[in-house]
Point group: C2
Chain length 275, copies 2
Amino acid sequence: MGEQKSGAGSGAASGPASAPGGGTSAPGRGAKPASDPTLASRLFAELRAQIISGAIPPRQRLRVRQLAAQFGTGLSPVREALNRLTRDDLVSHNDQRGFVVSAVSEQDLADMIRARCWLNERALRESIALGGPDWEERLLVAFHRLSRLPRWADEAEGIANPEWESAHRAFHRALIEACGSGWLIGFCEQLFDVADRYRHIARKAAMARVRDEHRQIMEAAVARDADRAVDLLNRHFQRTAELCRAELQRRAAAVAPTGRRARRAKAVDPAGPPA
Amino acid sequence: MGEQKSGAGSGAASGPASAPGGGTSAPGRGAKPASDPTLASRLFAELRAQIISGAIPPRQRLRVRQLAAQFGTGLSPVREALNRLTRDDLVSHNDQRGFVVSAVSEQDLADMIRARCWLNERALRESIALGGPDWEERLLVAFHRLSRLPRWADEAEGIANPEWESAHRAFHRALIEACGSGWLIGFCEQLFDVADRYRHIARKAAMARVRDEHRQIMEAAVARDADRAVDLLNRHFQRTAELCRAELQRRAAAVAPTGRRARRAKAVDPAGPPA
DNA sequence: GGTCAACAGATGATCGATCATTTTTTGTAT
DNA sequence: ATACAAAAAATGATCGATCATCTGTTGACC
């Protein structure tokens, strides 16, 4: 006896797929009959991807009827998918009050990152202690696959590259895979997903902020309000500089330790970019 | 902002409740209108309790129609409850193949216990480091409540005392509550539930084994098969003795360390009774 | 003006029927 | 007897209708 853990499936998000019309277009390859999974499972995967990617923002109410209409299905599969999503704390549910995309907060972020550090530390130490040559190889492969993929599908638009996301997950998993504890791995992956969501949301917010700044500057300029326009532009440059400064500090910190031994694991600043 | 974690509710299992007729019998106390929770939530709680207590054994298939009939409800609430149960890994699900109570295995037990030790260690250390006087007090209270409750509702029959179970959970939670990480606490509680299930299952199996041994001895005696009867009886005594021996060793070990310092946390034998 | 209550619309929860797939049974040929 | 295949039964998945509850609005009253 032994099989357990249906293993949340995770991995590759399907395409947009929102339009019900879909069907027979693009017969390109053999196009296996597909649709293996049940309708509820597809909805689950789709919603999960959208929530993690930030396409559906935190606090967003998930109305069953609306989603059913949007995906062109009945109510049951939606409800089922929603229920499954609560498993990973991506969605929360209140009796008689429906489903909501879980909120994010600075507090929760700090908590989550701390837990993530703890669990991954344990898992990584065990992995290093127990992992054999095969584990090393898998890790190298995972790293290689990750490093040759472009980070963004569209850098300017901040559209993530799904393949990179997938490889990123695979890399982190490969790190801890030899720890020998399915439970621990499961927890780590759950935290990975949540961290991923924060990452995407932050990115999204940053992009939106930049766009908004551009708009404000433009408006002030068109309105011939020189003072305001200049002020906004200056702030805009400042903010950009701050981002660069943070990055430079990071690089400097990476170079400096040449003198001393670079050991000393110590707790890393949890405020840093989750990666 | 901050509310998250719908918080699995856990706690007190309602009565058998299988009969739909139920209703107005035993108006004993005020009998508040109750039924606060949604139907699905009640099924969830009931099934969860039954699975953890071992009333529904591992590998048991959970057929939607059957459960619906048993509880006198429609299919939807059952399905919903089942889906929510997969959250805690108490139930697993395969597309088109329905729900099953998660299997148990020696391997999974070892894995789970190890993870449980790791996570609780971290949580406990943090709790001790961060917990204030209020935490201490709550812990003392939790311990006191637990220690004055009878372990069994019926020792001979091995029927657990629900209040004890509840206080037990509360005690373990109180221990780590001050660790400041909701995520970590959540994981620990999930593992608590799974460990609880193992505990109950083991107890149940032990009781069944004893009963079976009695029956076999009786049958051999009635059949006038002296050799077999005596052999069975001897083994029976041996087994009982082994249980006592294990207990005595535990007590001896607890007394011995008077000489040396009793520090040295070290890894505890995971095979011991999870408590 | 503000507060509360009745109302209406929206939304969640539940039901029973129906479709699709899996599992079991039954029958037949080797 | 065994193995395979078709048919039957069981079971999971999905649907749309319906009931219950919640939310926001309107309007009377203080």
